[in-house]
């Protein structure tokens, strides 16, 4: 029977592959809700519906003109909204729109391939905001599904099941190679500045209106994880001030960094003056080498959750260890830290902790002037109160402690939900409400100090941290905090007025502090559930997993790579690096060898058959006559003329024996061992005779 193949125009698997691609696109749309605008998602879902409805007949699809019109409209809408969502998100939206429109017109192999590549890129975009293990596994699933649609498309008669099996094997096989590449390929620093999205900045912001931080306290999202070299290196709870931003400009309501400070920092940077933090780090290093062994600095590692911002927080005070950091961290003259690119993903940062280093005034009069400014008229009551305090306590230190004492003694309370204070907020806070959150206290105290002629500024950051392991601290958004720095004798001294009102805030964290005032950070059923033992264990387990994932996968960088290789190979030299690359190549080669040339499985043929084949191959080699598809008897006749008499005789006996045992109707049954033995004997004789 012969099947004559007619040239095939289209593969019958086409509609199903298209449908699968559409489903994968749908899943991607729903996971990218953070980046995509609502109308883009709706457009995408409509395209999927159109594709599904026209599953059988492509005549239901909209024509090119309709789609072009839609494209023009979408482009207008995108340019309109583009300014508010930032360049990065505009790009992702554009990609999603283009996909949706093409999906409606999808009719050729080229388009299918184009859409496949686009969806790969969309998966990549998904990783901008989703960094967890679960997201990774989910996107891996989407990738598998996409590859399946591709395999199904290209295997016109291959059943879905075997395509799925193939794709599964392919991805599983590719993972070891990818992992090897991940370990060995150089981890590069960012090559150029990429656009960031505007809408998704999380955590602290660069302006503070008292009350902002209170809303942050409702979130228990992770802010960062700090890993110390040992349990003893972890600072005491009271010392855990993570400095982020310094607010020096006050407009009566809101604290912000201030234009003058920004200009000054820019100028100082162009003048190439070394920031005091780096000077400190250098002297600490020198001391270390002088005193040999007794080190004042403790290095630690921080894995920071993506803030989409440039500023970075660290223990007060810490110097960045830029030799290890993948992203360069710049120190500023107000002892804050800035990264060279916004933090878009979790990465490790390395710092040296300088616990007792002072925050000095590095630029002379400038900071003194900047931090003495007050809005002209507001909050008169406070000004009068401060001037009376100042008469009693003329020194700056005295004034500061008097203010602190006032908070302690006047029955102030610590609350997440203070009343709104729209007019003269500081007057109202100090003399009427007497209830507020850390930012209220910090704001009031800074104002009071400035009114009393002491330069002061507000510092925001985090305070506290939960221990995950003995040497691992995790800081969450609810640990956000604000405190005060006053310039006394050319040194910035930290005052934390909140600690006067709620002393347990520093020692035990916010939950405990609020509990003392009869408040809960989170309310409702979920809050109660959190206290259950099972939940805590589960949560702890999840946190541990997330920590390891962040540390080893997300936070894997050049430094960890170097450590790992040094653990394996000792001191790294150029020669060794070359060897590592060669070894990687050969390992990949071996992996491929194992995949594609598996070891010959144990043959299922009976033993006498194998001996017979062995003898034949010896004969083939000797005579040069190949058996090909000849039957045993035919081959015997063919090859006989090339052999000497003795060999001929043995071979004919072997052939006879083989035919008898293989084709006899009763089978050989118990005689199997005997036949095998005979065959073996013949084979030996044959080899001997061939050698002569």
């Amino acid at each position: 029977m012969i099947a004559l193949l007619k040239p095939s125009a289209l593969s019958s698997h086409q509609p199903i592959s298209y449908f699968m691609l559409a489903i994968a696109y749908g899943v991607l749309l729903l996971t990218l809700t953070e980046e995509l605008m609502i109308w883009v998602i709706i457009l995408g879902l409509c395209a999927i519906v159109v594709r599904t409805v026209s599953f059988e007949k492509s005549s239901h699809l909209p024509n090119a003109r309709t789609v072009n019109l839609l494209a023009v409209l979408s482009l207008f809408a995108l340019t309109w909204f583009g300014f508010s969502i930032g360049l990065l998100n505009s790009m992702i939206n554009l990609l999603a729109i283009a996909f949706a429109l093409k999906l409606m017109l999808l009719d050729s192999k080229r388009d299918f391939h184009l859409l496949f590549c686009t969806s790969l890129f969309l998966i990549g975009c998904g990783f901008i905001s989703a960094l967890s293990v679960i997201a990774w596994l989910g996107y891996l699933g989407v990738l598998l599904f996409l590859l399946l649609s591709l395999a199904y498309y290209h295997g016109p008669v291959t059943p879905l099941k075997s395509s799925a099996k193939f794709v599964g094997t392919l991805v599983i096989q590719s993972i070891p190679i990818a992992a090897l590449l991940f370990l060995v390929m150089p981890q590069l620093p960012p090559l150029w500045q990429m656009p960031t999205s505007k809408s998704q900045q999380t955590g602290l912001s660069d302006t503070v209106t008292p009350g902002d931080i209170a809303s942050l306290a409702k979130s228990s999202e992770l802010a960062f994880t700090a890993t110390f070299p040992s349990a003893s290196a972890v600072p005491e709870p009271q010392q855990r001030y993570w400095r982020a931003l310094v607010m020096e400009d006050f407009n009566g309501k809101t604290w912000s960094i201030g234009q003058k400070r920004k200009q000054a920092e820019r100028q100082l940077a162009t003048m190439r003056r070394t920031p005091p933090l780096l000077l400190l780090a250098n002297t600490a290093e020198n001391e270390e080498s002088d005193e040999s062994g007794i080190s004042e600095t403790k290095s630690y590692e921080m894995i920071v959750e993506p803030t989409k911002q440039n500023w970075l927080f660290a223990l007060e005070l810490s110097a960045p260890n830029n030799g290890k950091n993948n992203i360069t961290v710049n120190a500023q003259f107000d002892y804050t830290l800035r990264t060279s690119t916004p933090l878009m993903s979790k990465k490790s940062f390395y710092f040296d902790y300088l616990p007792n280093a002072p925050v000095t005034n590095p630029v002379g009069e400038f900071e003194r002037q900047l931090n003495s400014l007050l809005p002209a008229t507001s909050n008169q009551e406070t000004r009068q109160w401060v001037s009376s305090l100042k008469q009693a306590n003329p020194t700056p230190r005295g004034l500061a402690s008097a203010i602190m004492n006032y908070f302690k003694q006047q029955g102030f309370t610590y609350t997440l939900e203070p009343n709104a204070m729209p007019v003269d907020p500081i007057d109202r806070f100090i003399f009427e409400e007497k209830a507020g959150f850390c930012a209220h206290y910090a704001s009031a105290m800074t104002f009071a100090l400035r009114a009393g002629g002491v330069p002061a500024r507000m510092v925001t950051g985090y305070q506290g941290g939960e221990q995950l392991d003995d040497n691992v601290l995790q800081v969450r958004q609810y640990d956000a905090h604000a405190w005060v720095e006053a310039l006394i004798d050319d040194t910035w001294v930290r005052y934390d007025p909140t600690s006067m009102v709620a002393p347990s805030r520093l020692q035990y964290g916010i939950e405990q502090a609020l509990a003392e005032f009869g408040e809960k950070r989170t309310d409702g059923l979920l809050g109660d559930l959190r206290e259950g033992a099972l939940f805590t264990t589960l949560q702890n387990w999840m946190r541990q997993m997330d920590y390891q994932w962040s540390k080893w996968i997300l936070g894997f960088d050049a430094n960890k790579q170097k450590d790992l290789l040094e653990d394996l190979l000792g001191q790294i030299t150029t020669k060794k690096m070359t060897a590592v690359f060669l070894a990687t190549l050969s390992i990949v080669g071996v992996i491929l060898l194992v995949y594609f040339f598996p070891i010959q499985r144990q043959s299922t043929l009976p033993k006498y058959h194998r001996i017979y084949l062995n003898a034949l191959s010896a004969i083939e080699k000797h005579s040069g006559v190949e058996r090909q598809y000849l039957s045993p008897r035919e081959y015997l006749n063919k090859v006989s003329s090339h052999l000497n008499e003795n060999t001929q005789k043995i071979l004919s006996e072997m052939t006879l024996l083989f035919i008898e045992s293989s084709y006899s109707r009763e089978g050989i049954g118990d005689d199997k061992a005997k036949v095998t033995l005979k065959m073996k004997h013949h084979n030996r004789a044959l080899k001997k005779s061939l050698r002569q």
């Binding site: 012969i2 099947a3 295997g155 991940f182």
Partner: protein, 366 residues
């Protein structure tokens, strides 16, 4: 001759020389390529693909896949996002593995050429190819979409290889020629991008066969073709039996393809299944030679003769052929027709230096 004219002439000469040189270079390159291919994939009627006979490169889609993976790597590096980097590594490994899978699949293909029937020029002939079992890969067949194309043309046909089908699969590849004659069958390019379309495997197979292209038939009533049968010739041929006319029954003989069906002994066929025809001994009066005046253009004459040969053969007449160097005595049947047509197609063919010449000339004309 003025200087300007001289200069112009020189320039013209130069350009013509350059054109000739580039043509020559192309010809040399194509011979070198064909020689290299002959060494690498020697001509045979049956091919089992091996490491030596397969070429493999990424398709356009494969390249865009690689570029996409590199873009993801850059994006991941710039955002310091290891998950993107890891994704790009996975994509690159998938690409690497697919290279081997594509090759492994294509290396399971084995094909055998079927004898190719002659066809008229400007008509489409069919070259048939059977998919057979690969001698080294007995258990697993080649899968996917097989695309076939002649080495010297752009048009391609694609076939779905179906491994599940029990029967032997045959691919028929159309072939066209615009000039009569005998050609070596060009190399057939077979390509396959199974399983993911990221890589394309292909091979150029030479099936070591010739194709005979009959002249194009041309109907032209104005030209006299029939030549009455020569009496003296007839007396020579008198004793030979013929099945043409129907007066005296002479004997039974085996049926040959092309003999008129009205002379088949159907009773015998029904009884034993043997196809036999009645033979008659009567001299045939409708025997004649086909011939045209030598004055007419050769190609035209050949085309007209071709038309008449086909007509006569269809009617079951006995005919001979006399034209220039051709002299074929009257007979009938398919093999006779073939003989006549073959003689016509090979008449006065220009000498060929090397086989590819005909194709390149043809490619240029088409």
């Amino acid at each position: 001759m003025s200087n300007a004219a001289k200069h112009e002439f020189k320039q013209k000469q130069n350009t013509s020389i350059r054109a000739r040189l580039s043509h020559r270079r192309k010809a040399i390159l194509s011979t070198m390529l064909s020689r290299w291919l002959d060494k690498r994939i020697p001509p045979a009627s049956q091919h089992s693909l091996t490491l030596n006979s397969i070429f493999v490169l990424p398709t356009g889609f494969g390249w865009s896949f690689i570029i996409m993976a590199l873009c993801l790597f850059l994006l991941g590096t710039n955002y310091q996002n290891n998950l993107m980097v890891l994704l790009s590594y996975i994509l690159l490994s998938v690409m690497l593995l697919t290279l081997f899978y594509t090759h492994q699949n294509f290396a399971r293909l084995a094909v055998k050429s079927q004898p190719i029937a002659p066809f008229h020029c400007h008509q489409t002939g069919t070259f048939q190819l059977a998919v057979i079992k690969h001698h080294a890969q007995q258990d697993k067949p080649c899968k996917g979409n097989l695309v076939a194309r002649w080495f010297d043309t752009k048009e391609q046909v694609s076939f779905i290889l179906n491994a599940e089908e029990k029967s032997q699969q045959r691919l028929s590849v159309p072939i066209k020629r615009s000039k009569r004659g005998k050609y070596p069958l060009p190399r057939l390019t077979l390509a396959c991008d199974f399983p993911l379309g990221l890589f394309k495997c292909w091979t150029h197979l030479d099936f070591d066969a010739d194709i005979l292209v009959y002249p194009q038939p041309l109907q032209d009533e104005a030209i006299q073709v029939a030549l009455p049968f020569d009496e003296s010739e007839q007396s020579k041929n008198d004793t030979t039996t013929s099945s043409h006319s129907s007066t005296d029954f002479h004997s039974l003989s085996d049926y040959k393809a092309g003999e008129p069906l009205n002379r088949v002994v159907w009773k015998q066929v029904a009884k034993s299944g043997d196809w036999v025809v009645k033979q008659f001994s009567d001299p045939i009066n409708e025997k004649y030679y086909l011939s045209v005046d030598n004055q007419i253009d050769v190609e035209r004459a050949i085309s007209i003769l071709t038309h008449h040969v086909i007509e006569q053969s269809k009617n079951g007449n006995q005919f001979g052929l006399q034209y220039r160097s051709i002299d074929i005595s009257p007979h009938y049947g398919d093999s006779h027709t073939h003989q006549c047509l073959k003689a016509l197609s090979l008449l006065n063919l220009p000498q060929r230096t090397y086989p590819n010449d005909a194709f390149s000339a043809e490619a240029a004309s088409s």
